[in-house]
């Protein structure tokens, strides 16, 4: 699989439930970032977790990082219809002038 593979590819849940998305990567990283993309729109930065961090919270978002397994998860609690979007993880290998390597994304649908 390629660096930055998310699973599941698609997820549908009822409003109010929690949504968990996973991401795997292959190489060592400096940090991992999660982005949201509404259909056909731009990428909105959600949260960044550094390689020396294991868990991070921001509002209803919780991100974990397991560098031994080269994986990360994004949890959205108490989902809302407005959370419907595609979610991508993106790995940054080093700080500075370095490209982000994006995963294939999870398409999340929140059912009202």
């Amino acid at each position: 699989s390629q660096q930055g593979e998310e699973d599941p590819q698609a997820l549908s849940i009822q409003e109010g439930e929690n949504a968990t998305m996973n991401c795997s990567y292959k190489t060592s990283i400096n940090n991992l970032q999660w982005y949201r993309q509404n259909s056909g729109r731009g990428l909105v930065h959600l949260i960044l977790i550094r390689s020396n961090e294991r868990e991070k919270h921001s509002g209803r978002l919780r991100v974990t990082l397991d560098t031994s397994k080269k994986s990360s998860s994004l949890l959205i609690t108490a989902s809302r219809a407005a959370d419907t979007a595609s979610y991508f993880c993106a790995a940054l290998r080093r700080i500075g002038n370095e490209k982000l390597t994006f995963g294939t994304g999870t398409r999340l649908t929140i059912i009202p």
Binding site: Q33, L43, H45, N97, L100
Partner: protein
């Protein structure tokens, strides 16, 4: 809050024509990027730019592509002779310390 802006939002062009996509990065950022996303696919890195020169480019970024920072604010991507397969959403990004902030994208359609 500062943001990255891109123009135009949509561009339709004929195959073989030149297009220039424009971006205004966040003003105090030093690193700039172009990515593209073909419909339904993942976001792919094209090129990174620092200190007025390309620092890394992908295999996609061939001789038909060029980037420029003509003044202190704009950052442009030029495709010299567009192909059908260049149809995609093109995103500009700029980076401060750790986070890359993306513009809203330019949707390019090559006919």
């Amino acid at each position: 809050e500062p943001e990255v802006t891109q123009t135009p939002s949509h561009q339709v062009t004929q195959m073989g024509q030149e297009v220039i996509l424009r971006c205004v990065p966040i003003s105090n950022h030093l690193y700039f990027y172009w990515y593209r996303q073909i419909l339904g696919q993942k976001v792919e890195f094209l090129v990174s730019f620092y200190n007025n020169e390309i620092s890394e480019k992908s295999e996609i970024f061939d001789d038909q592509f060029s980037v420029e920072r003509p003044d202190g604010s704009n950052f442009t991507l030029k495709i010299r002779s567009t192909k059908l397969e260049d149809s995609a959403m093109y995103f500009c990004a700029s980076q401060g310390e750790e986070t890359q902030y993306f513009g809203p994208g330019t949707r390019l359609l090559v006919l």
